[in-house]
């Protein structure tokens, strides 16, 4: 297997196997992304002719206050989303029992994940509604006035992120449930014999075994945070006045609503760079772990 091409026919089958996936992925995903980067050097309304403007789009971008708002919001997403793995772990620990009926309970905990983000957005908009929402009802019960979360530029992003966390926590929970199912029982038993229990057991024995799961959960959470779009789109449309916008949404808005495809593509490029840093870290970690276990 070492050097495939030295064999007479060893390379033929693998090449045939790889071809459809690789070709499709390159043509649709990789080439499209590259094409988008190219578009960022043009002024283009998406319909007519494209005209070369060099880095003008980028210069405009760095003078655009909305860009910094979006960037800041992306960072808020990123930071707050980091609550998803521990919360997911907590719920996974809670339901990791083998009792009758818990299968249904687990499925119900998964619900937010399997619901479409559009639906989750609808659900939370409904929940936050300052006059009639459930949140308002709770506040009224305590004789207080509910904050209008979705119209408060200070809190709107946090409110949207909390909605976004709902399915994300579910996702992490599933990963951790899988991880907990795969624990090395003998280690747990050895630790029990050594007198470890509760939190100390979790910290010293369980968590180290969940490192791989942890890594995947964090990776998926970071991607989710940087790719956030549906929630923003459904819940606030980036509002009020752009204060809950994120890069992905601003890009969409500039392209589709303002017909500034070149500018939108420039935002895409920035998002790409941020993502690339993360992807590089991810790949580095992944390959290192792989080499470690190989």
């Amino acid at each position: 297997m070492h050097s495939l091409l030295h064999r007479h026919r060893g390379w033929l089958w693998p090449t045939l196997f790889l071809a459809p996936g690789v070709i499709l992925f390159w043509v649709v995903i990789v080439a499209s992304s590259a094409e988008s980067l190219r578009i960022s050097f043009f002024q283009w309304d998406g319909l007519g002719d494209m005209s070369w403007v060099g880095v003008d789009n980028y210069i405009a971008l760095f003078h655009d206050p909305q860009f910094y708002t979006s960037l800041k919001n992306n960072i808020i997403w990123l930071v707050l989303f980091m609550a998803a793995p521990p919360l997911g772990l907590a719920i996974a620990l809670l339901v990791n029992q083998q009792l009758r009926g818990l299968r249904l309970v687990k499925t119900l905990f998964f619900m937010p994940l399997v619901m479409s983000q559009v639906a989750v957005g609808v659900v939370f908009t409904w929940f936050y509604d300052p006059a009639n929402g459930l949140l308002a009802l709770v506040f009224r019960a305590m004789n207080a006035t509910a904050p209008a979360l979705l119209s408060d530029p200070q809190w709107v992003t946090v409110a949207v992120v909390i909605a976004g966390l709902w399915p994300q926590v579910s996702f992490c929970m599933i990963l951790f449930m899988a991880g907990l199912n795969n624990l090395d029982d003998s280690q747990i038993e050895a630790a029990r014999v050594d007198g470890a229990r509760g939190f100390r057991m979790l910290y010293h024995v369980v968590l180290p075994q969940l490192r791989q799961v942890n890594f995947i959960a964090i990776a998926i959470t970071v991607i989710g945070a940087l790719r956030s779009f549906d929630m923003v789109s459904v819940m606030t449309g980036g509002g009020p006045f752009g204060s809950s916008s994120v890069l992905a949404y601003q890009m969409y808005e500039e392209s589709i609503q303002s017909y500034r495809f070149g500018y939108g593509a420039a935002i895409a490029a920035v998002l790409f760079v941020i993502m690339a840093l993360f992807i590089a870290w991810y790949l580095y970690r992944m390959l290192r772990i792989e080499r470690g276990t190989a």
Binding site: L24, S116, V123, L283
Partner: protein
């Protein structure tokens, strides 16, 4: 197992535990319960501002039937199935092939190819919008099921390849060496060894892919302007635009479009968790 399992001989503990779980679950699902409640309320309650009080009447059947009779939701539902099922099958086929080669053959560029799959999958897919639209146009498949299927298959192949590669890499080397020693060609190995062994992974992956593709909203809007192709998510958004005041219908529709993935999860949960653990197969 961690945490310590509650034994059969601890009825008090068990009761306490079940109460705690129920409370957490209710809190967790509170927003969803709100929508569920709205979905069985008559439209007049909403117009009158009776959002949380006792419904003036229960319109469960009317509202849910209404989703199918008063709106084209039934048709969107069919569209979603026609888009999602072939896409899932397509991704499973392609990613089994790519995952198999990338995990089992060492060659120059292997890691690079894999990195591209993984990296490409992490990209914010919104940036591909315009080129993908143009591509489907050039292929003459814009505004058909095929446009969405092609995109979903291409995009999800990245994630699925990561998943399948890791799973297949965790299988014992000897199984593959044995197959080679027995004279199985790569194709025979794929059919007779890889496919049967990765079934749990395929089941888990199928569920994940089903939810991803079923719930896609962005591409549905970009690539399927017409009702004849539009899937449920875009349909729901459409419904919100058209029936904005009819929260009863919108809520019922929200529940309806969530049912297939939820049902799938419920019935396949065991496979899902097992597949996700990516545990090695022990002969």
């Amino acid at each position: 197992m961690y945490p310590r399992q509650i034994g059969a001989g601890e009825p008090v503990k068990k009761a306490l535990y079940l109460t705690a779980v129920t409370v957490v679950l209710l809190l967790w699902l509170l927003p969803l319960l709100a929508v569920l409640m709205t979905s069985i309320r008559p439209g007049s309650d909403i117009m009158m501002g009776n959002y949380w009080g006792w419904p003036s009447s229960f319109e469960l059947v009317e509202n849910y039937l209404g989703v199918f009779t008063q709106t084209p939701m039934g048709h969107y539902f069919f569209n979603s199935l026609v888009i999602t099922i072939p896409s899932v099958l397509g991704v499973l086929c392609l990613s089994t092939l790519t995952g198999y080669v990338l995990s089992r053959y060492r060659f120059r560029g292997n890691i690079l190819l894999f990195a591209v799959f993984v990296g490409g999958n992490f990209l914010p897919f919104q940036i591909m919008m315009i080129p993908v639209r143009n591509l489907t146009l050039a292929l003459g498949i814009y505004n058909t099921y095929l446009a969405l299927i092609v995109f979903h298959v291409a995009f999800q192949t990245g994630f699925a390849t990561l998943f399948m590669r890791n799973f297949i890499a965790a299988l014992p080397d000897e199984l593959f060496e044995a197959a080679r020693a027995e004279g199985a060609s790569p194709l025979q190995t794929l059919i007779h060894v890889v496919v049967p062994l990765v079934r749990p992974a395929l089941a888990a992956l199928a569920i994940l892919l089903f939810t991803f593709i079923w719930n896609d909203y962005f591409w549905a809007v970009v690539l399927s302007p017409s009702d004849s192709v539009k899937p449920v998510t875009a349909g729901l958004a459409n419904l919100m635009g058209q029936y904005a005041a009819s929260w009863d219908l919108v809520s019922a529709a929200t529940i309806v479009i969530s049912l297939p993935p939820v049902a799938l999860f419920f019935f396949m949960q065991r496979h899902f968790v097992r597949g996700l653990t990516m545990g090695a197969v022990k002969g």
